[in-house]
């Protein structure tokens, strides 16, 4: 029976793994991800989930275990945050290049220094080139639903890549809100058992995975990953439609548009700031100000064509980032500008909420005001706007 309860994002993530009937969980606890591991181990211990729970000594080992087990044909799950993800870094490439469909929630947390435990995207953004799909999440319901969808997307033969499902530290991980839990039988129908073909370490069918490769081969291997990443756009849309049909919740695929059709100014957000921005769009619309919102759900692959279509129907675009590439700008903005090369509209970057600073309604209003102003003027006063930074004019 479908059950609805108020739970944390961490619980939703662990329960997503349960509903996906993962075979192996290998994870190392780190704030604010710890409860994902605790809940998952409870599910295994209580007999709710028939999986191997592997205690490892570090995140490097957690990812190594997931790589090996997925290569052996298992459906695997792990979770991490911040320094833990940084420690996994070198193994992430192996999962990407070997096309291993691992699913991992990352509880976005500031990477030191200085040490902090609050929400920032400077842990996942630097992992954009590892061959992992990246999805940013807005609500606990979406956490649960995306874990299930992630396996379906990643295990699709046209994709066969791993995915990070990214949720903001504390703002989702430690916050309870109502979540509907689908029936596991319905999830089974939606997400059949993983049938490995390209990589399975079965003694009766010997293969080598990740062998030493000279320059004669690696360039083609890179192209394979790039092609899979490009293919995944279509698969993401398909899986979203199938999911919406099966569970009556539609996330609109790569991006979600809100009030964009006749908008003078559109803000592109990712993570929980999207949620805070929604009522502000309503507020502006009520006041006769034509603003719209684009929720960037997938950062990898980047929804290049969709962002171009957005640019075609508006006069200025603002891009919110919770991370910065020093000396350049926010990573999401950099990609938006790259996608919009040749489009003659202002594209402004807003940096706010770094280190977990609260992104307040007034901050989001500033983003809309600035983008509306650029729409009117036809150019931006400033390319990269730091909001709420003491001593810096926004």
């Amino acid at each position: 029976m479908v059950e609805k309860r108020v739970v944390t994002g961490n619980y939703a993530a662990a329960y997503g793994a349960l509903l996906s009937r993962v075979d192996l969980i290998a994870a190392y606890p780190i704030t604010p991800q710890t409860f994902v591991v605790e809940h998952a181990s409870e599910f295994v211990n209580n007999g709710m989930l028939d999986a191997e729970f592997m205690r490892v000594e570090s995140e490097h080992s957690a990812m190594s275990a997931c790589v090996s087990a997925t290569a052996a044909g298992a459906r695997t799950f792990t979770a991490t945050a911040s320094q833990g993800l940084a420690l996994m870094h070198e193994v992430l490439f192996i999962a990407g290049s070997a096309h291993l469909p691992i699913v991992m929630p990352v509880i976005n947390r500031t990477v030191a220094g200085p040490i902090g435990i609050w929400a920032e995207h400077n842990d996942t953004m630097p992992q954009r080139d590892t061959g992992w799909l990246q999805c940013y999440i807005e609500s606990n319901q979406e956490v649960l639903d995306m874990i299930i969808q992630a396996y379906k997307i990643c295990e699709d033969k046209r994709v066969l890549l791993p995915m990070m499902v990214n949720l903001d530290a504390f703002i989702l991980s430690h916050t309870v809100e109502p979540v509907e839990f689908p029936d596991i039988e319905d999830v089974d129908k939606f997400l059949p058992k993983y049938k490995p073909e390209h990589a399975r370490l079965w003694p009766e069918d010997p293969m080598i995975i990740g062998s030493f490769s000279p320059p004669e081969y690696i360039q083609e291997i890179r192209y394979q990953t790039d092609e899979s990443m490009n293919n995944s756009r279509k698969v993401i849309e398909e899986v979203n439609s199938d999911f919406a049909k099966a569970f009556r919740r539609d996330y609109y695929g790569m991006i979600e548009e809100y009030q964009t059709d006749d908008a003078d100014a559109i803000l592109i957000t990712l993570g929980t700031v999207t949620s805070t921005a929604r009522p502000i769009v309503d507020e502006y619309r009520d006041a006769g100000k034509k603003v719209g919102l684009v929720k960037l759900r997938f950062f990898r692959p980047y929804p290049t064509e969709l962002i171009r279509k957005i640019a075609e129907k508006t006069k200025a675009i603002g891009v919110y980032d919770r991370a910065v590439s020093f000396g350049s700008g926010g990573p999401s903005w950099i990609d938006a500008r790259s996608a919009l090369y040749g489009y003659n509209i202002p594209v402004i970057n807003f940096l706010a909420g770094l280190g977990g600073r609260d992104v307040m309604a007034s901050d989001v209003r500033l983003m809309f005001d600035r983008t509306l102003e650029a729409a009117k003027e036809g150019k931006a006063k400033k390319d990269v706007v730091w909001i709420g930074t003491r001593g810096v004019e926004p």
């Binding site: 609805k4 309860r5 108020v6 220094g113 200085p114 435990i117 609050w118 903001d168 530290a169 504390f170 703002i171 430690h174 916050t175 309870v176 809100e177 109502p178 929980t272 700031v273 949620s275 805070t276 929604r278 009522p279 977990g356 609260d358 992104v359 307040m360 309604a361 930074t389 003491r390 001593g391 810096v392």
Partner: protein, 295 residues
């Protein structure tokens, strides 16, 4: 929509109370969200938790600055923290206290519900854990949520966390507190100080935050700033030392995580400016020369 701020101490279960209220709201068909103050939690230290309730889905993911209700799990916190911060004249308080509403001074004269939740908890649960009882008082004082829904919310959140039986007991505690809650108006004479925070511009902040001892308008920062930050205020229990039973084995000195116990050759001496009352010393003492008593 209404917003609630819970004041408790780390370990008192303020977060579970906030979550159970969200669940109670959910039972009534409302949308309930609850979250802790996004901080590093420490046992005994003043902590905050929040609940937001509306009839429709809540999208706002910001923190709460001007709550409609403030719930205080321990009336001694009134001396330690500014419980009135951000409160409007129409706000309502719910306090665990043995005093009457008129005897409490929250720094703002507002409608206040009071219950001796500690006694209720001791009676029903056999432990001074007040996070369930206080919710009964919340239901009675505010009328925002039915006591039956509070019981349901407690069964859900507490039940999933600590087992069905304890969930049921805690629901009973809430009901008992509901019956005993007294509603009145508190006084507002106390000058509530807003604790100053050191907020330098990026230019004033030392490069990379490599900080030397520095006096700021918010007090000392950098090495030695603990002189200002007397963590003894986090204490709920206090170690009482019996010199006659002590054999000077110094286990307490060795195990004290705060370095608050001094070896004075003839006896051990406790530094109550910083002792947080964790009780490790009493637990480790082989001679039972240390007893933890309510501070």
């Amino acid at each position: 929509m209404y917003e609630v701020r819970f004041h408790g101490r780390g370990g008192q279960g303020a977060v579970m109370a906030a979550q159970a209220l969200a669940s109670a709201a959910h039972i009534e068909g409302n949308y309930g969200v609850a979250f802790p103050f996004f901080g590093a939690e420490r046992r005994g230290a003043p902590v905050l938790a929040f609940t937001r309730v509306d009839k429709d889905r809540i999208y706002t993911k910001t923190q709460i600055y001007e709550p409609d209700y403030v719930v205080i799990l321990d009336d001694r916190l009134i001396e330690l923290v500014n419980v009135a911060q951000g409160l409007k004249e129409i706000a309502v308080a719910v306090v665990n206290s043995q005093k009457k509403p008129e005897e409490l001074d929250l720094g703002i004269p507002i409608k206040t519900g009071v219950v001796d939740a500690t006694s209720v908890a001791l009676e029903v649960l056999g432990a001074p854990i007040t996070n369930s009882s206080i919710l009964g008082a919340f239901a009675k004082t505010t009328g925002e949520v039915k006591i039956e829904s509070i019981e349901g919310g407690i069964r859900d959140i507490f039940g999933h966390r600590i087992g069905e039986e304890l969930g049921e007991k805690n629901a009973k505690a809430a009901r008992a507190a509901y019956e005993k809650t007294e509603v009145g108006t508190c006084r507002g004479e106390r000058k509530m100080e807003v604790k100053k925070q050191w907020l330098p511009t990026y230019k004033e902040l030392p490069l990379g935050a490599a900080t030397r001892p520095m006096q700021t308008d918010a007090g000392l920062v950098g090495p030695g700033s603990f002189i200002d930050n007397k963590t003894g205020s986090w204490r709920t229990f206090k170690p009482v030392y019996d010199k006659d039973k002590c054999n000077m084995c110094r286990f307490c000195w060795f195990y004290c995580p705060e370095g608050c116990i001094y070896d004075k050759k003839e006896e051990m001496v406790f530094d109550f400016d910083y002792c947080k009352g964790c009780g490790i010393c009493a637990n480790e003492c082989p001679k039972e020369a240390i007893e933890m008593v309510r501070d």
